[in-house]
Symmetry: D2
Subunit: 509 residues, 4 copies
């Protein structure tokens, strides 16, 4: 059943109306929305209503306000003018269409491409239904209805807290039956103090373990034999990593976070996916699979309760090892990471902002403790240096190492003064490749023919450190690195260690 009042910009939506779908027409949009609200509440929802993006929505906004206060899962489809005309402020167009229904919708979108409309409606529905429920808004430009799109598969997404008993039982049964299960561990695991539960689960079902793409916290010991690495944020690379899996259990992460465009499914042929997350947004937008809404620790505990004590017929998961990279001059970033893995104590807390070396870090300098790794999940630079000060203040007795690039270090360089003045023994290690290495690598991959220079010559990092009151050391040989770290670990003040590394182009993804 679809409620609505028709307008010229929604016409293509009506052009071939399916006979089995009932259209309930109202003479004013306030009525259309309130009818849908009543229907959603009485039926359990969702209910759909169609309106014009500005004029129709405008008449309906008191009813949207009511639907919000009623926690009623109403999905509003609005007809925006054609994309092609929008640059000219055409008649009946909605200006800033997603702002007009605010603040009384849970989510509002005008998709960036016609192809994305079906998925946006699917996501909107799941957001509307998440407890507490409420209205959502999807503005659809008129010319989008005529664009062919991929079908969106129907997903089950739990909208109640801590799953349903049924949802959890079904998930446990699938885990018990899986032959080659894989865990993808997201940042919620570490946030939720669920390392222990997650290790137990991995061992019980004989799963291999990956860290989710761009996780800003590490929820699993990287020196565990089941550990395989971190997923690379592109569909093809995720699929390759998960190759062979028949069941993928994602704990506390989106499905998935991408950075680079690539085609196809992130899952290997035949694999199934189950996602546990406390985040309704991550559940609603997941690309594929079944979603269960729960705090991760309770969710994994509930699965363990329902699993058989062991899954004995599964092969033991063997560890993988990583060779020490060869020493060059200057050394590569990988060499230095390996060296640091050797030097730094196991209870070290890493605060990392080295985009160029993010993907290789876990092979050499492994996180071995809960709350042992932080970066910024947002990707903005300038976070790690000051954040490591906050972390050190919260954990004064653990070694805290800020591992940072020379470019990244500049965004919040002033924080060194606070480190010096606070009397904390922070250790800052700069992997100094003389420029924006990630930019240079990505530009090469993009086939950029003549970009401007992304080098950063003429920066004296130890000089900056000293000018702010820290100890500043330049360490160019392994021995100097070893000695500098050793000195820093024993110091009462903040030490900045600048380690020049080769500016080789990495195959980032």
């Amino acid at each position: 059943m679809v409620f609505g009042n028709p307008g010229s910009t929604e016409l293509p939506f009506f052009a071939e109306w399916p006979g089995e779908l009932r259209w309930v027409m109202a003479l004013q949009e306030a009525s259309a929305v309130a009818m849908a609200d009543g229907y959603a509440q009485a039926s359990g929802g969702p209910a759909y209503v169609t309106l014009h993006s500005a004029a129709g929505l405008g008449n309906g906004l008191c009813a949207v306000y009511s639907a919000a206060r009623n926690f009623s899962p109403v999905v509003i489809l609005a007809g925006q003018q054609a994309r092609e005309l929008l640059p000219f402020d055409p008649y009946l167009f909605a200006q800033q269409p997603t702002e007009f229904p605010q603040p009384y919708v849970k989510w509002a979108i005008e998709p960036a491409r016609a192809q994305d409309v079906p998925r946006a409606i699917d996501r909107a529905r799941h957001i509307a239904m998440q407890r507490p429920a409420g209205p959502v808004f999807v503005s659809v430009p008129m010319d989008d209805w005529d664009v062919a799109t991929e079908p969106v598969s129907v997903r089950h997404v739990g909208d109640r807290f801590t799953g349903d008993t049924d949802e959890l039982a079904a998930a446990a049964a699938k885990l018990a039956a899986a032959q080659r299960p894989v865990l993808v561990v997201g940042p919620e695991v570490d946030r939720d103090d669920a390392w222990g539960h997650t290790i137990e689960l991995a061992e019980r079902i004989g799963a291999t373990v990956w860290i989710s793409p761009h996780a800003n916290r590490i929820g699993f010991p990287e020196n565990h034999r089941a550990f395989r690495g971190q997923l690379i944020p592109a569909r093809d690379k995720v699929r390759a990593a998960l190759d062979g899996a028949d069941l993928v259990l994602v704990l506390g992460a989106p499905v998935f976070t991408y950075h680079i465009v690539a085609q196809g499914s992130p899952l290997p042929e035949g694999a199934e996916l189950i996602q546990l997350s406390e985040d309704p947004a991550a559940l609603a937008r997941a690309e594929t699979g079944t979603g269960i809404r729960t705090c991760v620790r309770e969710g994994v505990a509930a699965l363990l309760d329902r699993l058989p004590p062991a899954a004995g017929d599964r092969p033991r998961v063997e560890p993988i090892t990583h060779e020490q990279p060869p020493l060059t001059e200057p050394p590569t970033g990988e060499y230095v990471l390996h060296l640091l893995g050797d030097i730094l104590p196991p209870d070290t807390i890493l605060v990392e902002e080295t985009p160029t070396f993010r993907e290789v870090r876990n092979r050499h300098l492994q996180v071995r403790r809960p709350h042992g790794y932080y970066n910024t999940g947002a990707g903005g630079l300038g976070w790690a240096l000051p954040a490591s000060i906050g972390i050190k203040l919260a954990e004064p007795n653990a070694p805290v190492v800020c591992l940072i690039g020379d470019g990244a270090m500049q965004y919040s360089i002033q924080a060194l003064w606070t480190a010096a003045q606070s009397g904390i023994a922070l250790i800052v290690i700069v992997l100094d490749n003389g420029g924006y290495g990630a930019m240079k690598d990505l530009a090469a991959q993009l086939g950029a023919t003549h970009p401007p220079s992304f080098d950063l010559p003429g920066l004296d990092l130890p000089g900056l450190a000293r000018s702010y009151g820290c100890v500043g050391i330049r360490a160019t040989t392994p021995e100097q690195v070893r000695q500098a770290v050793s000195q820093a670990l024993a110091a009462q003040t903040t030490t900045v260690i600048d380690v020049p590394v080769a500016a080789v182009t990495a195959d980032l993804y």
Copy 2:
């Protein structure tokens, strides 16, 4: 520990800095926010940071974006210019201060009065901590720091899903120990299909039951012996109703929704309050008590699991009865409600929009089934008539009655056409007091000396109904009402019954 970079508009905040509170000063605001983010994550949160409302926040917004993506509970206190200067767009003022941090904070506020700042900070903290966590923003005008305020008591608000085992066990123990427990039943109970659980709980602990103020759904049978009525949305009236209680358990409602200003605590002396809700906003802003975040049905089930089978030493709760009001000419609204309570079948679904008669309805025309009552929780008019059409379409086999005022009916009068065209047998009963009765009553209570007229003369409601294709009947005597309803219950089409009632001034609250 408070992080920050100071600006002139935050100065009063610093004027008498408590020696035991550590102030960590950054040289740039991006650093201050990222330090707080690191601290919040490593300590579990919340962390506090202080900035200028526009200039400082502007420098810090990449770090706010990071905190959002890191799900980091950072509470940002921002120094706005003095309220007194704001009309003049003074130097260093923040324009639309709560919009600047969007879309990367969970909540942003500049309190409407200086007195409300402490409570806003408390609420901000609880919102920040609710899963998934994230940053929040409180803009504080400079002159607010010098205003004396009431202290805000420290509340425990659960931020995990389905409570903590500990939280639920503690609540169950208190229920078991309470001598005079009261349940306040909110709309979540009906939304969550938890009538059965709630009745069992009330009977198990021997509680009396109130409906929460302005509930838009009824979650308890109004003809149950424990039922006492609906709380009136003013602090003094809530306190009077709850008088004698030692424990108040609020299920699925805010604590509390008010409409009218009144002073004092909503709780009687010595009473304790526990709130269960799926809505993190309702938990964070509750005026008092302990909060547990859960879907109501699971939450009540968990309490029942932990309660002793009976609380045998408690007195049986006796029912209260309501007399039939006397017949006048024209009849009072109460008389007509009592009459309808007599006529309408028990499985009737009421959709109500009669502000003048909301408080007395439950004494005479009682809801006796789940999903048996709807109004708009927002208070906007024009909802009930179209919503009742949607509800009837979802529940074609139940009697659906839209009980509405003559003023309220006009806002979406066009919906009658859809009712007529849809071929549904909706029943619309108008309690017609010839004007905006609630406005007149409130104006009288306010002591308005000469307001403009709020009468609505010259409206022919049956004529309107017929012009839209419905049956329209004017029923002025009890017998006519009885006959019209009987005809409507048997009809295949929508019937509008206009019942003139006395325009007496009620004591609304």
Copy 3:
């Protein structure tokens, strides 16, 4: 010169950097924006800066706030993640990208299609420069840089008030030299009380005159010999109407308002366009031509001052006439309009909401006085009926006629009560084609195969009118119409005249 700090999402912008364009790289985005601000102020502007859409912009927002307070025309280009990834909330994407820089930019956009990026940047530049100047924001998804687009021509848009002396002199010279000038008269002419100036200008230069598409006010006598009609809101129809013109002077209207997608230029080959407007948004977004910012009355007066007293060598503009349409049964809308043109007094004020008949109205029922015509420029329905009440209250001595469709009338039908109670003699004439005629016509043009019904059966409009206290008349013959109007013109109260017309499908555009 372009300032910036590079991020991965802007990389394609840098891939083939033109050697002659200087790139000034900053190490933090706050610096990049402030550099651009300084450059814009010292050079007169605009200045360009490039940032990442969320992380980079976040660091730069204090500098954006400064640029706003400095009234500095800084154009910010921001790198958004690829459109293709946006449905999945990818790494480094900006959520609600146009909200983040608010409230400190004058305009923010993420274009709806890759093809629209160049025009958006052009528009942004012109908005930035309009007095008072300020920063603007264009978010560009990463994959847009690789899409081929039409080049955007360089336009001159005046940014000072009341033009420049030079701009006005140049425009006057072109008008004097034009052989076949055309005026397009927009709503600002009537708003600005510039009928007299505009008539004088048209006669002085021998121009024909069109009303701008979807003008909500008429700024020129429709019975003047130079009047040609109203432009139809589609590029091809505008071009056809302007065929033969060598100069188009647009007074107080956008260039142009479209409703329907069509291709090509709105101007005939070789024609030039000059736009005068008080609206900086309309000037900045104009599709083509030269813009002069001025209140229309002063602008036209300034042109008249600079024009020779007559342009004697031009042919006299001949009037066009419109035949009376044939009488059918029921009559067509055009027939009724022609009839009303005959009956209604010349000083009648029309308030019109008949989308189906908008394009033909001016041939038959012509506006002959200033402030003689109103509709809603927004296109939303439900405006005309209440607006005509406001207009009648402001002009109690003029005949005010609300000319409205049967569908349109329903959106604010309640307003009839206010008309009746206010004691005003409004005349409401309904062109009643029994449904949403415009929807049906557009659906047919779209080739809709089986849309749901857009008919409105079972509406008794005179009955509704009477139920609200108005006079309600159904007039089915010309004589009945004539008599009803005559009665209404003499009445002391509001009269609703329902005139059934044929539901023929019109060729709307």
Copy 4:
């Protein structure tokens, strides 16, 4: 005439309705707004309409959208719930009330205090009327209507471009008649290249000249005999400076920008004020006086055209002089400024960010050329250092000096790298008082008893400069300063000169 539909939250507004004001009641809010729109258009505006803040506004938002597209000056007064209840999300409250009408109002406000409501309505009216006109929104909490406020005087604010001929003639007549006129010169004068016109005007009418408070550009030669200084941003200080004036002409500035709360009028008894500005916001919000909307250059030119050639009977304005401050150890900031005034060439461009010394700078280091001074009008720190790089790039042949505090310098310290790499000969002079001097001064004035430390020990500024590739010099004696500046003026690269100054507490305002 006031249009509206009443709600409970607006009731106090109606309590004592003035008999002479007509109240036009609508039955639905869409009607109320459209009535007001029609009335505003037909009458010329403004029109007033009253609604509930959320429910009522929601019903009316299509009509608000129409009013926006119609450029109709409708002032919407909305009834918000009582301030006292807002912390509890009461029934019928509007959440983020100023966002709901967006993006279709020109301005939306809920005043920060009850006392500010009348002024907010006055400002709203003037914003609505400014060309192009449009709707505005004022949300009024229910309890505000009962608070006594100061009356707001009726102001004339021109809403057309380049004034009206009448407005300009009246202003010229007043200038000609004034005995002791004062010019207040704002940043628009320099932005608009109107030094010449402004000097001519000052000399023609014998005015003394002040720079507007916190002007970010200087529009008048500070070594001119009529120059008196810069207004201090507090009402009492402005009044003291303007003492004796009978007419104050404000050119291109707000009336006035304040930083500090003080009471009373900014004008001396009996003085009149005229404001010329291109900024409609500055005109609408001016505290007092008559406003004329114009680009300043054309506006002053129009005044000069209408003034008599000389105002011969007025006394010649005599210059004021400033003594060289005594030399202390370390020197005071004033001493160093005086020294720099002596050393720096007259065509120097100053880019200033020294909050502590802003008020005294113009006595010693005077701006003597157009485009000779910049700071950030916003007050956020971190602007001047990078902005001076942009300015130097735009003006490569002029000496550009960034005059900055040691605290201010840290916010964008990274910009030194861009300066070094760009090969520009920027001069950065740091007035280094070892901390946040302005904060310390203001804290002392506020009577702060024990604020945390605002000192900045341990910063090696020359070291930082050198680490970024600049020349870094510490100059502690006048001779060293003289020599360092001389060296910097001759250099091909950027030089940072760190000048320690006394940390004496200034009487800032």
